[in-house]
């Protein structure tokens, strides 16, 4: 029996079949929606002829051009602020003896895993012009008629989104600084250069590629973010590209116009990510040869605690205050009543988890879909990544490229392509769980792929070859030798796809139907009628689940989360 299987394996190499299936799956998941996106954008909705009519409509009317200008202002400002704050924060944590370095790092990660739409929700409670707690406190203390903050404004949205984008620059720059030895600075110090001058002329220029990479990453995150602008900018009567795309989906759905409108964003994203990759590459090049040099921490002396206070303000705004607001609201019977006796209750938790079948199902869907999506993404990443890395197939780079392609597609645009491709026969996924599972798997395939291949690179193929030469088939050699050795790499690739899939909104909002609702779409639905207690409760549940997973990763895998998510190799 075993001999037969072996003979069969040798004849038609089972591995080749698995690989072919994976390639077919990835082609359907990545190439088909992109093709449909392009095709739809050229399609005249009334007579199905092809042309540029949609582009003409999308890019000549001022009502559609204003959102583009707003998006550019939003994304540029968010990226500039995030880079301007993330850089000194990274320097303080990586190069100085500032107290609480571990705490600051931990809180930056907390900001990173917080979905910006939850941050926006929390800041609505804190800084709505009249009812926000900060404004009310200000009015109570100063006796003035109105508080100073208005979160429902472009400035408000920039503020909130910047808070959740700081982790990108922070991580890239601390990565660069950690590799930068102190030799150059020491030499400058010996020659009489002061600390400020050393920082400006040596440290900053060396970190510049990392800063720019952080800027680009934040720009792309901000321009493709849907949730936070929907919460903060619709009441502010300011449209951005993503909220305008959402409007195109309203009845009567103008999918063709949406596809055309999305195209420039796709090109900008691809172009900027290409630039970012080149910059990161250069950064690594800069450091070659200086690795292993001595690094010491710059003593801050009397400034230690004042600077700690400044640094701590960042997570205070992005994490501590918003979490407190969400938690307090979720524990209130009615948030408007404030912290009075009888208002403290677990009612909403019981409601969300036990009494309300809709939220119950949404919580379950979120976990099941994220689980399935992460598993599919990792399975594809393993199959294709292995074949590519081990040089088993010709044209390997093309397959790697397709697996990485979704990385440059903003979620909202992927959703438009998915809707166009899979809401009609023969591949009718719309209305089924698979619509969301496949979309999430596609969206997070690059994360799974890059993390798996990175860990695979550390493993030589010799052991497999030894097994092969002793007569084991390819699949057997992989399953019995490679996988056990790569267990941690595979697990972390899976978790890194699972975490964002658990709280994905910008794809889900276009692809779910009420029977396949997930937590994030339910939160979005509840937000329209001011059901703040219910949606704060669901938000806290997402955060608790996310932190449990992040802690597990740290405990068992010791991975740097942001590096891995933000910087596919």
């Amino acid at each position: 029996m075993a001999r037969n299987v072996q003979r069969l394996e040798r004849r038609i190499d089972a591995g080749a079949i698995v690989f072919a299936l994976a390639v077919a799956a990835v082609a359907i998941m990545v190439m088909l929606p992109l093709t449909w996106l392009l095709y739809s954008s050229l399609q005249n909705p009334t007579n199905a002829t092809l042309g540029f009519a949609n582009y003409a409509t999308a890019f000549t009317k001022s009502i559609y051009l204003t959102p583009i200008a707003n998006s550019l202002i939003l994304a540029t400002s968010v990226a500039a602020i995030a880079a301007a704050i993330g850089t000194p924060l990274a320097w303080l944590v990586a190069r100085t003896d500032i107290p609480g370095r571990g705490l600051l790092r931990g809180l930056v990660i907390a900001a990173f895993v917080t979905p910006p739409f939850l941050g926006a929700q929390a800041w609505m409670l804190l800084a709505a012009p009249h009812s926000g707690w900060l404004n009310r406190a200000f009015v109570a203390m100063t006796g003035s008629t109105q508080g100073p903050f208005n979160i429902y404004s472009l400035a408000g949205a920039i503020f909130v989104m910047a808070a959740y984008n700081i982790p990108y620059t922070f991580t890239f720059v601390s990565g660069a600084l950690a590799l930068m030895p102190s030799d150059l600075e020491d030499a400058a110090a010996i020659l009489g250069s002061g600390a400020l001058r050393r920082t400006m002329t040596i440290v900053l220029p060396l970190a510049l590629p990392a800063i720019i990479a952080g800027f680009i990453m934040s720009f792309l995150e901000a321009i493709s973010e849907f949730g936070a602008p929907a919460f903060l900018l619709i009441p502010a009567r300011t449209q951005v590209i993503t909220t305008q795309l959402y409007l195109f989906f309203q009845y009567p759905t103008r999918i063709e116009l949406a596809a055309a409108y999305a195209m420039p964003m796709l090109l900008v994203t691809a172009g900027l990510l290409y630039a970012q990759r080149r910059l990161i590459g250069r950064r690594r090049y800069t450091m070659i040869g200086t690795k292993g040099g001595r690094r010491h921490l710059i003593p801050l002396r009397g400034l230690r605690w004042p600077l700690f206070a400044c640094a701590f303000a960042v997570p205070f705004i992005g994490v501590i205050m918003p979490y407190a607001a969400l938690l307090a609201t979720s524990l209130s019977r009615a948030w408007g009543r404030g912290p009075v006796p009888g208002n403290l209750t677990f009612y909403w938790y019981r409601w969300a988890l036990f009494d309300n079948p809709e939220t119950q199902r949404a919580v379950m869907h979120s976990f099941v879909y994220a689980f399935a999506a992460a598993t599919i993404a990792v399975a594809l990443a393993i199959t294709i990544g292995f074949a590519v890395q081990r040089g088993l197939v010709p044209g390997a780079q093309i397959f790697a490229f397709i697996c990485m392609a979704p990385y440059v597609i903003p979620g909202i645009i992927l959703a438009i392509g998915f809707y166009a491709a899979f809401s009609r026969p023969p591949l009718l996924l719309y209305g089924t769980a698979w619509m969301l599972i496949v979309a999430f798997a596609t969206r997070f395939l690059p994360i799974a792929y890059s993390n798996f291949t990175t860990s695979l690179q550390t493993l030589s193929g010799d052991l497999e070859l030894a097994a092969r030469s002793l007569g084991a088939g390819r699949i057997r050699s992989i399953v019995t030798i490679t996988f056990p050795l790569l267990r941690n790499g595979i697990l972390s690739a899976w978790l890194l796809a699972f975490i964002p899939a658990l709280r994905e909104l910008s794809c889900a909002i276009f692809l779910f139907t009420p029977q396949t609702a997930v937590i994030s779409t339910v939160i979005f639905d509840f937000s329209d009628a001011g059901n703040f207690e219910a949606l704060s409760t669901l938000g806290i549940l997402i955060l608790v689940a996310t932190f449990a997973i992040v802690l597990l990763m740290y405990r068992f895998l010791g991975r740097s989360l942001i590096e891995a998510e933000a910087q596919p190799a």
Partner: protein
């Protein structure tokens, strides 16, 4: 055109009756009204299906929760899966489903009557005459001459306000500069209530009315219920809001109240229908049939919605014929809502 203000319901009733008889030929294909035996049979068949899926824009989540609980108490063994969303959102989701030939919905409950005209044209609704339809006010029976949809809930768009301020009593007063930065509105591209209100105001006062409101920099949410949240939280003082959810929050001790404007509240006759391709057709009909039961009207009153049945008194004791109201004709909504949504985007930039 919104219909002229009436002080009595009877006049409208007569008009509706006349309209009905004029379209008599369509009645040939009409199904018969449910008998008690029919309802028992329906329940037995519905139990086999086990579930009913209901998308509603009729009232707030809390009211819909109560309706679900009351239905399950009366008809054990049938699970109610529902979402509450604004009218235009559930309509859009239904249309996306229909386009892709996905059938997940049984009972569609929007607040924009013109949705049903569109759905009728697509031939996706199924005719149904519930058992106790004759218990609703005469003028609201047989909303559709072909019985493809029926009245499912009643409500008003009126002026809601924070009790800290003296409220306006007429719609044009919302344009008073005194309310600068103090107004809150829903969005006609989301909410059926708001769409109805905007059409009525446009037809009564012209689009200039909304320019005067825009000058007051209103906060614009999505659902009409957003106005209630803003007022309760003190974010804004005055809104064009719903009667039901405002009264519910008022009863909860919040600083909010309502005014029926002197120049007419806007009456919303929110329809309900069962889809032809419903995955649970019997459960869907049973659920729709439940909407004319005494239990349903009582549950509506508990959450401060207007009762459908004439034999169940309203929560605040106000009778329909004592309220000054206007109502849009369905033909007007059909063209009016897309029209005002486009104008709204220009004027309010959202």
């Amino acid at each position: 055109m919104s219909r002229p203000t009436r002080s009595s319901f009877l006049a409208l009733a007569a008009g509706a009756a006349a309209g009905l008889s004029a379209r008599a030929p369509a009645e040939a294909a009409k199904p018969n009204e449910m008998s008690d035996a029919d309802v028992s049979k329906l329940y037995a068949a519905a139990k086999k299906e086990g579930t009913v899926v209901w998308w509603t824009a009729h009232y707030a989540q809390s009211a819909a929760d109560r309706v679900r609980d009351a239905f399950k108490a009366k008809y054990p063994g049938i699970e109610v899966q529902f979402i509450r969303q604004t009218a235009q959102v559930i309509f859009q989701r239904l249309n996306q489903d229909l386009k892709s030939n996905v059938h997940e919905l049984d009972v569609f409950a929007s607040t924009d009557e013109s949705h049903y005209v569109v759905l009728k044209k697509q031939n996706v609704l199924s005719a149904f005459v519930p058992a106790d339809i004759n218990k609703v006010p005469l003028s609201l029976r047989h909303l559709d001459p072909d019985e493809m949809y029926q009245i499912g809930a009643l409500g008003f768009v009126l002026i809601n306000f924070n009790t800290k301020v003296q409220p306006p009593h007429r719609w044009p007063q919302l344009g008073d500069p005194k309310w600068k930065d103090q107004l809150t509105l829903g969005h006609p591209a989301f909410s059926g209530y708001v769409g109805n209100w905007v059409v009525a105001m446009n037809d009564k006062y012209g689009w200039e009315y909304f320019k005067s409101i825009a000058a007051n920099n209103p906060k614009i949410g999505r659902s009409v219920n957003d106005t209630v949240t803003d007022i309760v939280g003190g974010e804004r003082m005055v809104g064009a809001g719903p009667d039901n959810y405002s009264l519910e929050r008022k009863a909860g001790g919040n600083p909010i109240d309502i005014v029926y404007p002197d120049d007419g509240a806007v009456l919303i006759t929110a329809p309900v229908a069962v889809l032809k391709a419903a995955p649970h057709p019997n459960a869907g009909r049973l659920f729709m049939n439940f909407m004319y039961s005494r239990e349903y009207s009582q549950v509506l009153v508990k959450s401060y919605n207007y009762p459908l049945r004439t034999d169940v008194p309203s929560a605040n004791g106000v009778k329909l014929d004592k309220i000054h109201w206007t109502r849009n004709k369905v033909e007007r909504l059909e063209t009016g809502i897309p029209e005002v949504v486009a104008k709204w985007r220009e004027t309010f930039n959202v």
